[in-house]
Amino acid sequence: MGNKQTIFTDEQFEAYQDCTFFTRKEILQLHGRFHELAPHLVPLDYTNQPDVSLPLALIVSMPELKENPFRHRIVEVFSEDGQGNMSFNDFVDMFSALCETAPRELKTIYAFKIYDFNVDNFLCKEDLEKTLNRLTKGELTPEEVNLVCSKAMEEADLDGDSKLSFSDFENMISKAPDFLSTFHLRI
């Protein structure tokens, strides 16, 4: 790995430090991880902001994401084109929004987007069922899935439209004691 003078300019570092929750060292670390995912694609020199994106399949093979049942959704949410091709900016963005120092509100917004499988700004019953199936790796019977999802919907749905809007979701998450401690990635 080259020394930092050849990877990013100081101005780029300042921008990253303002726009993310990371320090210089961590950004360099992230670049190293991004590079080792595809050494022949990712240049070592980012000073002229090359436009390189890695496909979804490479990103979800990272050890931090490999065991996560929602890894595909996470990468899709943070990628610019919505298909999972991530540039380095998206990569840094993902880890910054999910790091331990990110505020609760930001994480809630992204959690909502991640769990919204059909991208309609609502968490409907199907979204909940898909979440539950990913969580349990499909080992519950359909009636059990239905029961659990109905109960979850009933608890969280405040305005009675059998879908969770963002305010319903936010209200529910604000009372959840474990959300902050479970919903973060560590690099």
């Binding site: 917004i109 700004n121 199907e126 539950l132 009675g160 439209d161 998450i173 474990d178 919903f183």
Partner: protein
């Protein structure tokens, strides 16, 4: 049309057929939301604050900006006060926002930008300090390993243990400052060293507390009125103050932890809450990288959900019980309760006889036998506390309760057993308290309890847990191995042991001031021993112990132990005279004489104030005022609860109104379009207007979702034609 009422969550939702088909037109109108939905103020507000990622090329976000430029400016203002890194947008947008702010900085002035820089630097420094402090917390890596392998419940036990270590360290500090150091500094008797070894001391003295230990600062008898003998600052007063401070500090800390946990669990209304929504959305720990840990977590989640489903099935089964079955069940439960009471009574009898036997005079025996007889009560208590909870666990499995109730019933019975056996032992001890220097005797008993508790834990690990593991590993098919099964770390029983040892510390504090020091060392040793047991001998339990509500329970049990200790100490100090031959209170009729002397020496106004504060004329109004304040809080809580219910109903009604109006508007729009278009293009409009085809992330997606709506407050037909286009 039919109306179905479904009563869930305490408010009524009304379903009707009209939500999927209309009597007015032949079309289905499930896509009614798509045309006007994007223009609703709530959709616009949502889009303003969320700035979707895909906003560079699509039309849907540019529309609001074009149509409502004043709103965009407002959004920009709101966003400029938030730190950039907290904006939920992609990196490019953040960079643009940053550049914008930098432009503003040049207009804002150097003072503002300097202040902002300082704030940023301070925040970064604060973050670094916080990170360094969290790395200083001892044993955090161990806790992380344990959590990964055994789950959050076992980790909660070790967190509780660490908390007790902190508490005891604090108590050590207080006692060291108020009792030990003044004695060491001001000791009047110069030739009375801290540790004096005399003729017939032996190693067994360490276990029994006699000999050299008796003459050391460990016990009450060492302390005397030393050269520090002012009216209001003397050794006895410091001794009393130290003990009282320790108890009050413990009370404050335990109550605070209990209340903090209570607010998180019981606030939500359900008692033993299995909140499915939390399980679904916060169930997965995103930090997991190890496939084995991931499998374990998966099985935990699955088991939790199955536990919930089992509870549901149990409740259904309970609802279907006939009268005869109920009668039989109650009879069985009554019998089992009686059995539990008999067992408890038997335990207390055993303790009584052991106490009597240990206090009987023995002479001419070997030293070891003497020690053993002196240790008879602690041995009996520990054995009883070891076996009976398991018996209770088996008994509760016959009582046909739901699983959580079973666990709780066992827990309540075990708590009662432990605290009551300790209480009974103290009671029997005090019946024989007319000896010389009875305080030392009592201190010795507490010391013996503490020491034996540690010995029992040690023996349990090395003589029971390890052999059992070895047996199950080497000879897995033998009958003994199959009988004992794989070891699980039983969290409630281990926590009860900790609570018991802490209660012993609190009770014996006054008579054996070094108990917190002993307890700290003991707890640290227990941490490592239990860590060894868990990591080497136990397998993860399949059923996860619910951590958040259980930590409240642990602290509540600790509170119970503390209350018992305070009551015991208080009744002792009132009933019994301090002995006349040892201790700092020699010569006074009661322990509180020293405070009376000190108060008498204060100036007049202070004296009368203090006397007033401790009289009934002050205490009763204070209690009355507290009752009034509590009542006002309770009534406010009830009023808030009612307001919340009303607001929820209003919310449901408003949403129903909104859906109804949207639907009517769309119907009228389509009718108008149909009258202007040729009939063949009717099917083309079915999918919605052209604008909605290009934005996949707008409000489509409800094709298969039938919104439940019926607006009871409006006329179902006739008004739609009047609805204006610009709704």
């Amino acid at each position: 049309m039919e109306d179905k009422e479904c009563n869930s969550g305490g408010f009524m939702r009304l379903l009707s057929e009209e939500s999927c088909s209309s009597t007015v037109t032949g079309e289905s109108c499930v896509n009614y939301q798509t045309e006007i939905f994007n223009q609703l103020p709530s959709s616009l507000a949502r889009r303003r604050t969320h700035h979707h990622h895909q906003d560079r090329g699509t039309i849907e976000t540019s529309h609001p900006v074009e149509k409502h430029p004043e709103l965009a400016g407002e959004a920009r203002d709101r966003a400029s006060t938030q730190p950039i890194r907290s904006l939920p947008v992609c990196m490019q947008r953040k960079r643009e926002a940053r550049d914008l702010r930098h432009l503003q900085t040049r207009t804002v002035g150097r003072w503002e930008s300097w202040k902002r820089n300082q704030r940023i630097n301070r925040k970064r420094l604060g973050e670094q300090v916080g990170e360094a402090m969290s790395r200083l917390l001892p044993w955090s890596s161990t806790l992380h390993t344990i959590e990964g392998r055994f789950g959050v419940g076992v980790k909660a036990y070790f967190v509780f243990l660490r908390y007790l270590v902190y508490l005891n360290l604090l108590l050590c500090l207080v006692i060291g400052g108020t009792i030990l150091i003044p004695t060491v500094v001001y000791d009047s008797d110069a030739d009375r060293g801290l540790l004096r070894f005399e003729g017939n001391d032996s190693v067994l003295d360490f276990f029994v507390g006699s000999g050299f230990l008796e003459r050391s600062p460990v016990f009450y008898g060492f302390y005397a009125r030393s050269s520090l003998d002012l009216l209001c600052l003397n050794t006895p007063l410091l001794f009393l103050l130290g003990t009282l401070t320790v108890l009050i500090l413990s009370l404050v800390m335990v109550v605070r932890r209990t209340v903090v946990g209570y607010k998180h669990t019981w606030l939500l209304g359900n008692r033993y809450n299995i909140h499915m929504s939390y399980k679904v959305f916060c169930g997965w720990d995103f930090c997991i990288q190890d496939p084995e840990v991931a499998d374990l977590k998966l099985s935990f989640i699955r088991n939790e959900l199955k536990l919930y489903l089992e509870e549901e099935r149990f409740q259904q089964r309970e609802a279907r019980r006939t009268l005869g079955q109920w009668a039989r069940l109650y009879f069985l439960r009554g019998l089992l309760h009686f059995l539990v009471l008999v067992l408890l009574g038997g335990a207390f009898c055993l303790i009584y006889h052991a106490t009597k036997a240990s206090q009987a005079e023995r002479s001419g025996d070997y030293l070891i036998l003497t020690v053993l007889f002196q240790y008879l009560p602690p041995i009996v208590i520990t054995l009883v506390n070891f076996f009976l909870p398991h018996v209770f666990r088996h008994i509760s499995s016959f009582e046909d309760y739901s699983i959580t109730t079973q666990v709780n019933a066992t827990l309540v019975r075990s708590i009662f057993l432990k605290l009551a056996s300790l209480g009974m032992y103290l009671f029997f001890l005090f019946q024989n308290s007319q000896q010389d220097c009875w305080e030392n005797q009592f201190g010795k008993e507490m010391y013996k309890l503490a020491v034996f508790d540690f010995l029992a834990c040690f023996c349990n690990t090395f003589f029971i847990a390890y052999p059992r593991k070895w047996l199950v590993d080497r000879y897995p098919s033998s009958w003994l191995a199959r009988l004992s099964g794989k070891q699980h770390f039983l969290i409630p029983f281990n926590v009860l042991d900790l609570v018991y040892s802490q209660t012993v510390t609190w009770v014996g504090l006054f008579y054996c001031p070094m108990l917190p020091f002993i307890e700290t060392v003991k707890l640290m040793a227990i941490f490592y021993i239990k860590k060894l047991t868990v990591l080497q001998c136990c397998v993860p339990a399949q059923r996860m112990f619910r951590a958040s509500s259980s930590s409240v329970l642990f602290h509540f049990m600790l509170l119970l132990g503390l209350i018992m200790a305070v009551i015991t100490l208080g009744s002792n100090l009132h009933k019994f005279e301090p002995s006349s031959s040892c201790g700092p209170f020699v010569g006074s009729a009661t322990v509180f004489n020293v405070t009376a002397v000190c108060v008498d020496s204060l100036p007049g106004p202070a004296q009368s104030t203090l006397r007033y504060l401790s009289s009934e004329a002050f205490v009763l109004p204070v209690i009355l005022a507290q009752i009034v304040v509590l009542t006002s809080f309770e009534s406010r809580r009830r009023a808030n609860g009612k307001a919340i219910e009303r607001l929820k109903d209003m919310l449901v009604m408003s949403t129903s109104d909104k859906h109804f109006l949207l639907k009517q508007h769309t119907l009228s729009l389509r009718r108008q379009k149909k009258t202007f278009k040729a009939p063949t293009t009717v099917s083309g409009t079915r999918e919605g207007s052209p604008t909605t085809m290009k934005d996949p992330s707008a409000g489509i997606g409800e094709d298969s979702h039938i919104a439940q709506l019926k607006d009871p407050s409006a006329q179902p037909t006739g008004d739609d034609i009047k609805i204006d286009r610009g709704l």
